[in-house]
């Protein structure tokens, strides 16, 4: 089965390392994909705040493009790695299903520009694809460098599982944990899995956003995690790039490696760090490399 890969805007800029590592992992696991031709913005969070209907149209165009690109296939699966894209595509499908009048208007408009939307496309998150299409057993077979001794704190973020996701629990998701268990890691049981990281407030109202990121990082450290893994480009950006600001503000040391779940999985699959975009991180996860080579973690 071939998947349609819908990157979304942030995977081409701040989340470039997410794209690189995701595609590297897909290649290594033999998952076939094709990038969506001429995709547009999903109509996410900030757009919804100005014009809802237009946001739905933007998402619907992507869905229709995917259906067009996979015309000959029975199933159309769109992989949307960015949480906001994933959520908004699902939300649009749900809204159009519940509001046939708007569906008719949007369908007619799409037809004018030569597109057709038949609600055939299925929106999938990469975690969903890895866990449910490939399976933990298959993944654990392909692991060449088990993550033995590494304590992983999986951080899902809000929109990955809330409110429309179907593949995991909305309060205590476990899919990513199972993925890392299959890769031989030790997973940290913590309550911050779906707590908000501050999202775009870090750019707009920092006084509110930094405490939110701080709580997550602090808790991860308290639970003696070696690494925090994320599934959203905004979460990764907030938790990694603002660490110095947070330390300054709260006079603490929150230094912990925050990487994409695909990067950690890629390391376990034996993929070269450079191919996983590790060079784009603010600081190299030296501790992680050391533990993977058999060294002991140092907890301060």
């Amino acid at each position: 089965m071939k998947y349609i890969y819908y990157p979304g805007c942030s995977l081409k800029s701040t989340g470039k390392l997410y794209e690189e590592s995701l595609l590297a992992v897909f290649d290594a696991l033999g998952i076939e994909y094709e990038e969506l031709n001429d995709w547009n913005c999903c109509g996410a969070t900030a757009y919804m705040a100005v014009d809802e209907k237009k946001a739905f149209v933007l998402a619907a165009r992507n869905l229709a493009l995917a259906e067009q690109q996979m015309k000959d296939e029975k199933e159309v699966n769109i992989v949307a790695p960015c949480s906001a894209c994933y959520m908004i595509l699902l939300k649009t499908q749900k809204y159009l299903e519940d509001n046939p009048e708007d569906m008719a208007v949007i369908k007619a408009a799409l037809k004018e520009s030569g597109l057709e939307y038949n609600a055939k496309a299925k929106v999938r998150h990469p975690i969903d694809v890895l866990i449910n299409d490939l399976g933990e057993k298959e993944i654990s077979k392909r692991i060449t460098k088990p993550l033995k001794g590494i304590r992983v704190a999986s951080y899902y973020g809000c929109q990955t599982v809330r409110p429309y996701s179907t593949f995991d629990d909305q309060r205590n998701p476990v899919a990513m944990d199972n993925l890392f268990k299959a890769a031989g890691a030790e997973v940290v049981d913590w309550s911050m899995k779906t707590r908000c990281c501050g999202a775009s407030l870090t750019g707009t109202i920092q006084e509110v956003a930094l405490p939110l990121s701080y709580i997550i990082l602090h808790e991860a450290k308290k639970r003696r995690a070696d690494v925090v893994t994320t599934a959203c480009s905004l979460c990764q950006f907030n938790l990694e790039c603002y660490q110095t600001n947070i330390d300054k503000k709260f006079k603490t040391d929150t230094k912990i490696d925050v990487i994409y779940f695909t990067q950690l999985l890629g390391l376990a699959l034996g993929i070269e760090p450079k191919k996983l975009g590790m060079n784009r991180l603010f600081s190299q996860p030296e501790d992680l490399y050391r533990i993977m080579e058999g060294g002991k973690p140092v907890y301060v």
């Binding site: 805007c9 942030s10 081409k12 800029s13 701040t14 470039k16 390392l17 001429d38 995709w39 547009n40 913005c41 109509g43 969070t45 900030a46 757009y47 919804m48 705040a49 100005v50 014009d51 809802e52 209907k53 237009k54 149209v57 933007l58 165009r61 959520m87 809204y95 509001n99 009048e101 708007d102 208007v105 949007i106 007619a108 408009a109 004018e112 520009s113 030569g114 809000c158 929109q159 809330r162 409110p163 909305q170 779906t194 707590r195 908000c196 501050g198 999202a199 775009s200 407030l201 750019g203 707009t204 109202i205 006084e207 509110v208 939110l212 790039c241 060079n279 784009r280 991180l281 603010f282």
Partner: protein, 228 residues
Amino acid sequence: MDKKSVFAESFALDNAAKDIVEIRRRIKYESELDKSFKDKIAKSAHGEKLYGCIQCGTCSAACPVSHYMDYTPRKIIQMVREGFKEEVLTSSTVWLCASCYACTVECPKGIKITDVMYALKRESILGNYYPKKSPASILANNFFNQVLNNGRNSEGPLLVKMYLKTNPFMLLKNMALGFKLWMRGRISLKTERIKDKRSLKRLLQSVEDNSINKAKINSPALKEASAV
């Protein structure tokens, strides 16, 4: 003293005492409330469920930023239902909501509170109530214009524009971070565009023209966007 004379006296107060009256007037007269406000919001936040709020406060408890808000989500819902339009639309609550959907998932009455907040954000922009210097609303507006014109969002130019409009000092403050990102190829000042910009614009226009619940555009920000 009967009721009438109390009123007569309080209206004859001097300037200093007027402030006190002003503060007391935070509670509105019923005739000043906008009773149709709740229907408008319920309609655009997809659900009549708004009317069924039992004021349990689960949303405020689930909200990670409720303690920074001037009115918590629970209060906002009640104020919407009572018709405190201006207070709601000028509140910080609306722009502090980071859309994490915690409240929506927890609400025992199934109210889509995040969508209520979106509806309020839109009303606040349409009615020109939004705080003109608040980065959150400026960001939303800039984001909207950028996607309308180019089909995609370019993070670099978006942030630079937002800081220039709101607080140029923040631009300087974030320069080091921006440089670090740029060094790692994670941000650029290039504007991203889709190939078929024209058809996207036509598509958006056609939906706008044919929509059943056509929204009136009063906001200068939106007018500017649709004029380009």
